[in-house]
């Protein structure tokens, strides 16, 4: 492993775009030469390297080292989760890859290869159309980061975690690791040890950010692990919508994406966090997401999981203050060779708190979807409400769906509802649509879009359009 101080600076990588690529699915990659490379495998040296490259404060280096110990000491959670986790070879993964330099404020300054990637994914165009700010992460670090002047002038901070640690340590450190402690699970520990990139947002009191802030996470390199760390703090009475998109090219080897996302909504604040991810099906996507909602605050997760080999993700809200509200709206599409293990956690910790979970899963071919939910309302509280709906759609007889709702409600002063349904796209339904001239792929795509329609209508328009496009692509591809 090279030392951070003595790394030679390579000339910019030659043009070498992959050929025969499907632009729309994000399945393409460029040859890159990385200035900073932590090498393969995970040890104290890896952690040390990352911390050195980032020129971090001693407290953070120590935080990372402790996290590594926690990661090493925790077994894989295969007593409840799939044994496919055992196929992750932590020694083969590259934990840090970066080209060096600060994230650029204009696309013109972004190196060509990287810029081309984001242009193909349509990010600069979306930024012009409807976003208040964009952060574009390429492997371990942000390549581009910009916030519109009008929003910056309101005092809104939107930077990556590396910058945040340097420039806003007092706010960062106050909340960092508080919503999701290192030892929450094996993968939150892994992230805590090697995290890089991710967004940091702070919205001062009384500010409603008019347009969404967006981050885009792109994996370019093979055998890579992306470990972004996102921390969003919205002060009293403020509002923000944050959206993230993710893609990676399809490699024959596995790729690991293991993020930690912590949200803090102070009194009366509102956070809407939207994810539309379209991972290639060699990606292990193991993400921990949780929000802390203070009094009368509202946290809403909108989570669309398409692609990946295995996704395990259960966005949660800890309803800490009176009348806090939490919501998870999730859509998971498991195609052949994919397992979507998703769900939601609602921890009620104050009176009159309300939570709502609507989860829709689609299993196609050999695809497998699992819903896991936790709703916890302790005895001493009163006036809490939860509504949970889980609907599964099966397309063809080989697909599999499981539901594991764990609803613990103590006391008799609460209102809880749970509904679950499983439906199938029948041969007759497909024939009916084909008789109207739709191909089998179009017919299945329409069924799936119909199934998620009511939920997708609650998404911002641009994202429901994107979701529909991804479903169409996925379903077209599933028909031989």
């Amino acid at each position: 492993m090279p030392d951070a101080q003595t790394i030679a600076i390579d000339p910019p990588a030659a043009e070498n775009p992959a050929v025969g690529i499907d632009q729309s699915s994000g399945n393409f990659s460029y040859e890159m030469k990385y200035e900073f490379d932590a090498g393969s495998g995970l040890s104290e040296r890896t952690v040390d390297y990352i911390s050195s490259v980032k020129k971090e404060a001693p407290w953070l280096r120590e935080f990372r080292m402790n996290a590594l110990k926690t990661f090493d000491s925790k077994p894989l959670p295969t007593h409840w989760a799939t044994r496919d986790l055992e196929n992750i070879d932590f020694n083969k993964i590259r934990y840090y890859l970066a080209s060096g330099g600060k994230p650029k404020r204009t696309w013109d300054e972004v190196p060509d290869d990287i810029k081309r990637t984001f242009e193909r994914l349509g990010i600069p165009e979306q930024e012009r159309k409807f976003l208040a700010g964009v952060e574009a992460q390429f492997d371990s670090e942000a390549a581009y980061s910009n916030i519109k002047d009008t929003v910056a002038k309101q005092g809104v901070i939107f930077v990556n975690s590396t910058e945040a640690l340097r420039e806003h340590p007092e706010i960062f450190r106050k909340w960092f690791g508080k919503v999701i402690p290192t030892g929450d699970n094996k993968f939150s520990a892994l992230n805590s040890a090697v995290f890089s990139g991710g967004s940091f947002i702070y919205v001062p009191p009384g500010i409603k950010v008019s347009h969404p802030l967006q981050a885009y996470f792109r994996i370019n390199a093979e055998n890579f692990g992306q470990f972004e760390r996102t921390l969003i703090i919205v002060d009293e009475g403020s509002e923000v919508t944050y959206m993230e998109g993710c893609t990676a090219p399809k490699f024959s080897t596995s790729t690991l994406h293991s993020a930690v996302v912590e949200l803090v909504a102070l009194k009366g604040a509102k956070i809407q966090y939207i994810t539309v991810q379209n991972w290639a099906n060699n990606v292990f996507n193991l993400v921990t997401k949780r929000g802390l909602a203070h009094e009368e605050a509202e946290i809403k997760w909108i989570d669309c999981n398409i692609g990946s080999r295995l996704t395990m993700k259960y966005p949660g809200v800890v309803l800490k203050g009176r009348k806090a509200r939490g919501e998870v709206l999730s859509i998971a599409l498991a195609n052949d060779g994919q397992h979507q293990d998703t769900g939601a956690k609602m921890i009620h910790a104050a009176d009159e708190t309300t939570s709502n979970i609507i989860a829709k899963s689609i299993s196609v071919g050999q695809g497998r979807s699992t819903y896991r939910g936790v709703v916890h309302i302790p005895r001493h509280l009163k006036g809490c409400k939860n509504n949970t709906e889980c609907d599964a759609l099966l397309i063809n007889s080989n697909s599999r769906t499981d539901t594991y709702p764990a609803i613990t409600v103590r006391g008799d002063r609460h209102a809880v509802q749970h509904e679950a349904s499983v439906s199938k796209v029948s041969e007759e339904q497909i024939f009916y649509m084909k008789q109207r001239g739709l191909t089998e792929g179009q017919a299945m795509s329409l069924s799936v879009n119909g199934f998620v329609n009511e939920l997708a209508r609650q998404f911002p328009m641009e994202y429901s359009v994107e979701l529909k496009r991804l479903i169409d692509l996925e379903m077209e591809g599933s028909v031989g």
């Binding site: 339904q429 109207r436 001239g437 739709l438 329409l446 119909g450 998620v452 329609n453």
Partner: protein
Amino acid sequence: MSILEIKDLHVAIGDKPIVRGVSLTIRTGEVHAVMGPNGAGKSTLAKVIAGHPDYTVTGGDIHLDGHSILEMEPDERARAGLFLAFQYPSEIPGVSIANFLRAALQARMAEGEELDASAYYKRLYEKMDFLKIDRKFTARSVNEGFSGGEKKRCEILQMAMIEPKFGLMDETDSGLDIDALKIVAEGVNRLRGPGLGMLLITHYQRLLNYIVPDFVHVMHEGRIVKSGDKTLALELDAKGYDWVKNELVVA
């Protein structure tokens, strides 16, 4: 003009023969009614023309404008101009009639071509006015929670928008009260014209009081045993299917 020719067609479900040698030629502009008792193979005939996967053609052929369609997928047949109005149309939860029809029309366009949304809605509303269908109807999910009459009207609307060469109406009258029957028949009559050929599959003569066919065929045990003009339907109604069966025995 287009021509749909059914040539000595034999059809089975599994090993069980259902249609046993049917020949029938329909030209655009013509309305043919196929009548017969339950189990005669009428519905099978309509579904097999559309390419339903449950049925196997064991002999004979079906030609559309001189070309066999037997090797074509159901969606290819649909795009070639064959429309089946289902006896029991499927529900498509969450998909509005407007979106469904839009997808069906989009599927008929060349790759890269986009349906003009405002022209589409204009045409949709024209057809709905023409068929006396409330405009709110198209916002509902396809067939979900529809009454029998609404389902049939939805089929007629789809046929009006898709403008096929041939409409195969499978028991369009089943499960309808007389008012619904009149509405559906009126819709069919309005679509009738030189560009559309129709095959009406029906058990009862009463539909033919409202849709007057050019030709009437009687099916029995998988064969067409009698063909004639509209008077055959009346005769059949007066004498019952036993009359045909008895005639067959005598012959």
